[in-house]
Symmetry: C2
Subunit: 544 residues, 2 copies
């Protein structure tokens, strides 16, 4: 593997650990816990893993451990720091007994079911320390949900002498980790399961989990790019840049980037839904900001748009639902592409038809014609950044005719997602992930299962971070998924009464009017601590 100069130099970085993990640990246990909702149902579904206490590690007495092996799985989309969770786990497991082995299951949970694995040797591990990506063992999206999968898994776990399995994933994968932990506990198979909170989207967080790993690095990478675009925008003074940011369900990424870069406009899906805004409301909001700036001679600006926005607009959600129904009829399926649009228009309810007709032709075509293999509208293909800029342009044209707007409206479009999911982890994510992995080894040594590895107080210096574990059932409630009620970890959307949103809301009128851009620049791994070691603004505001 040919390496860049940065890769080589960065490999030597020694991630910091909380002081409690620097030597032997003792587990201080809290009181029995309850799930965040639907306690009776969750308790019934998880009789062996419900109600366990929160754990905090503190300095303890040295112990000796008989050799044991551990397995690790990367589940779902990439997030910066995944390799450091593995190196932390690797070092932690070896520190307990150098004879211990760590096995990686290849290409995600499917590797466990298909018995596709590799040993993570010291040489292999050293190739991946402090690097981005999940390529050491690969990731995958197979869902571990069926008993049949669990039984296939136990075969290979026994064969490899694996005492505990660590699953790195988002809310769904951690839910499934808990189901697996419960199953193995119920069957008395003697295999522990530990989860780790991953996702750049930042929507796996709650009272117990401060942040999911990767959010820090991904947001800093996107903010670097947004800052660069803003500097360009403020130099050329001729374009409005519409910038879409990854994150289907929650707007944490867009909000964090707004806090870092101070763009003219940032949309927050959760607010659009809460206020039941129509698409026209959103367009009018942007157009008004454009018109206000134009009135002062500033025909340029930046707009941040969360990827999932369109699904949070109630009217569009309704339109999509009806489109799915109409196009699923056998009559529609037998039509050619060009006839389908007329068919759709003839069958849509009046209010949905009005929304459909208000969309730019290209987007309407996409909604009506581009389906996934299940026949559903492919919302992720909709170029929301272009949809909005086209509609804003149309609105401004109308205002121009009415004498309400004088200016030029040139646009550029961007979408950032893949650019940040595999960036080399920032110091924060490098330390946080390494600690999560190292900490998981201590949860294993303490015989825990159904726990998530948790590191808290992360706005303090790393030495003061608090390491421990939280029973996964504690974060669960019952939600409808594919028509059935299921126990799941509650997804954390942007809270409109939370500190980060409130700060943003208090500033956005000023940012819209003035050019208050901040340019964060690229992630720095060396240099002054205030440059290299700052956390996200979201965390800073939440911890204030």
């Amino acid at each position: 593997m040919e390496k860049s100069a940065l890769q080589i130099a960065r490999a030597a970085y020694k991630p910091k650990l909380p002081k409690a993990l620097l030597g032997p640990v003792a587990a201080r246990e809290g009181k029995p816990t309850q799930s965040v909702g639907d306690q009776d149902e969750i308790k019934k579904l998880f009789p062996n893993t419900y109600g366990m206490p929160v754990i905090e590690f503190e300095a303890g007495e040295p112990q000796t451990y008989a050799p044991f092996n551990v397995g690790i799985i990367l589940s779902g989309g990439q997030a910066p720091g995944g390799h450091n969770v593995i190196s932390g786990l690797f070092d932690g497991v070896k520190s307990l007994n150098p004879a211990n082995k760590l096995y990686g299951f290849i290409l995600g949970p499917g590797g466990l079911v298909d018995h596709n694995y590799m040993e993570i040797t010291p040489e292999l591990m050293d190739e991946y320390r402090n690097t981005g990506g999940f390529d050491i063992i690969g990731s995958g999206r197979t869902k571990l949900e069926e008993e049949d999968q669990f039984e296939k898994g136990i075969q290979i776990l026994r064969q490899l002498g694996i005492k505990a399995l660590v699953i790195i994933g988002g809310d769904d994968s951690n839910t499934n980790a808990c189901v697996l932990a419960e199953y193995y506990a119920a069957k008395k198979y003697g295999v522990q399961v530990i989860g780790c909170p991953k996702t750049i989207d930042g929507d796996l967080k709650n009272e117990q989990i401060e942040t999911s790993f990767g959010f820090d690095t991904a947001c800093k990478t996107y903010s670097e790019l947004i800052g660069n675009i803003q500097r360009d925008c403020n130099s050329a003074r001729k374009y409005w840049h519409f910038i879409k940011l990854m994150g289907r369900s929650a707007s944490h990424i867009a909000l964090e980037c707004a806090l870092q870069c101070q763009p003219n406009i940032c949309l927050v899906s959760e607010e659009v839904e809460a206020k039941a805004m129509s698409l026209d409301d959103v367009v009018t909001y942007i157009a008004q900001a454009v018109a206000n700036r134009a009135a002062e001679g500033n025909n340029y600006g930046t707009v941040l748009i969360p990827e999932g926005l369109i699904e949070f607009v109630p009217a569009i959600k309704k339109l999509i639902a009806e489109l799915n129904d109409i196009l699923a009829t056998p009559e529609a399926q037998n039509l050619g592409r060009s006839e389908q649009i007329d068919f759709v228009k003839a069958h849509l309810a009046k209010d949905n038809l009005a929304v459909f007709n208000s969309l730019p032709t290209s987007v309407a075509r996409q909604l009506a014609l581009d389906r996934d293999p299940h026949g559903n509208v492919q919302v992720s293909l909709i170029e929301t950044e272009k949809l909005l800029s086209q509609m804003v342009a149309a609105k401004l044209d109308q205002w121009k005719k009415e004498g309400k707007y004088v200016g030029k409206f040139g646009t550029q479009h961007h979408f950032f997602g893949y650019e940040g999911r595999c960036a080399a982890p920032s110091n924060y994510d490098a330390d946080y992930c390494y600690s999560l992995g190292y900490n998981a080894s201590r949860l294993i040594a303490n015989g825990k299962t159904g726990y998530m590895s948790v590191i808290k107080n992360t706005t303090a210096p790393a030495t003061d971070w608090v390491a421990g574990g939280v029973p996964i059932t504690m974060m669960m409630n019952m939600e409808k998924r594919n028509g059935k009620m299921k126990p799941v970890i509650r997804k954390a959307l942007v809270e409109l009464d939370g500190a980060p949103f409130k700060y943003f809301a208090s500033k956005r009128a000023e940012w819209a009017k003035q050019t208050a851009y901040v340019y964060p620049g690229p992630i720095q791994y060396w240099g002054p601590s205030e440059v290299c070691d700052q956390t996200t603004k979201t965390l800073q505001l939440e911890h204030k």
Copy 2:
């Protein structure tokens, strides 16, 4: 101005200077020079500024200078380091006499004509040291070509007591700087004009100019992103990423990024033109690489595409020319949009019609319907990255039916341009630009006009860089522009027998087949020198 932690810390960076510029200088003059082509015509057009010697600065005796003022103009697209040219010039001018003043003309050459200017004070200057962007005074695209403009310019230059004007721009702007220098010399107006070589495209370089500023930082920023995408690509193993990179005329950026990141495929426009490749040839080349990787189970990869590619495909160039003619007819202009496509098809020559019909519908529509205000096809709007991936998909479908290809072909698309033009300059660009600006003050002090500020030997440590000046006429030849022969600086395209392309060509078969990705990571401003101070691979290979 609210600043990020990086902005604040980076402001303290002291750019390095060549040792010849650290104290008083003496100008060592070479022999009289000739233009690179059309010597008789160029000599006739530039009687006062033709044939001047190349200059190298060396240590000299201290001198005293009567106070004088200097003007500066930023011309054209942004490039990282523009503010450092200004700070270098500022410090250089003040070092000659602290009473000297530097004036910036606002929003480009238009500021000179319209007498729109500001003094660059020490306080203002300190706000912009080592930052990206051109926002200190703004840039613009007004071309300084007419006597009327020159005369308006001299009024304000005299009014402000400006002895010399420094113009920071690309090949066209430096050509115009030379025309202005000649005009003021002919008129004996006593105002000198000095140029500085700027453009991220990297196409302003020759025997005398090693590289244009901004190319280093822009390519490193794009390479960071490409590397991140490649790490994702190699982790998820399910997409081919088609990545378009800024650069209309030359493929230097794409080539440099390929040298840094080792993608599976990089197209080079100059090669496509030299080999007279058809669009189908290009598509087949990519599809074959996709099929070869698929045969080994690797349904993922990366393709770099220079922005200007499509205009270098001879058949497309021909098609566009005929489309422009057909759509310019009064008959065509009276048709509605939907009728225009049929009209175009009815009138295209047979071979152009075949090319037109081979294009995906959306691109054909765009070519036929989207015109600029002059009625021309808007080539820059064509999403070449999507055009190519759609055509590759169609080709693979055909091969699948013929049993020649087995695999999946999922795609993602990216276009990087605005993300890098205003990045904070790398150490290289920070030093190089500061030296260019500081050096310009020495050319001014030595009474030079019609010169470009030049710094050479830049793969050596900065102290060993060679500072001097090159007469702009030396880089000129006659070329047709808008139907008229004009004296211009010859644009530097990628040379197919140059070291960078030859190295790439020797490696690309291996990179296409294997996954040889390199991940450069973000630009670092602190840390090990091999990480922070490396030049572009292009320069390294050219200097080997």
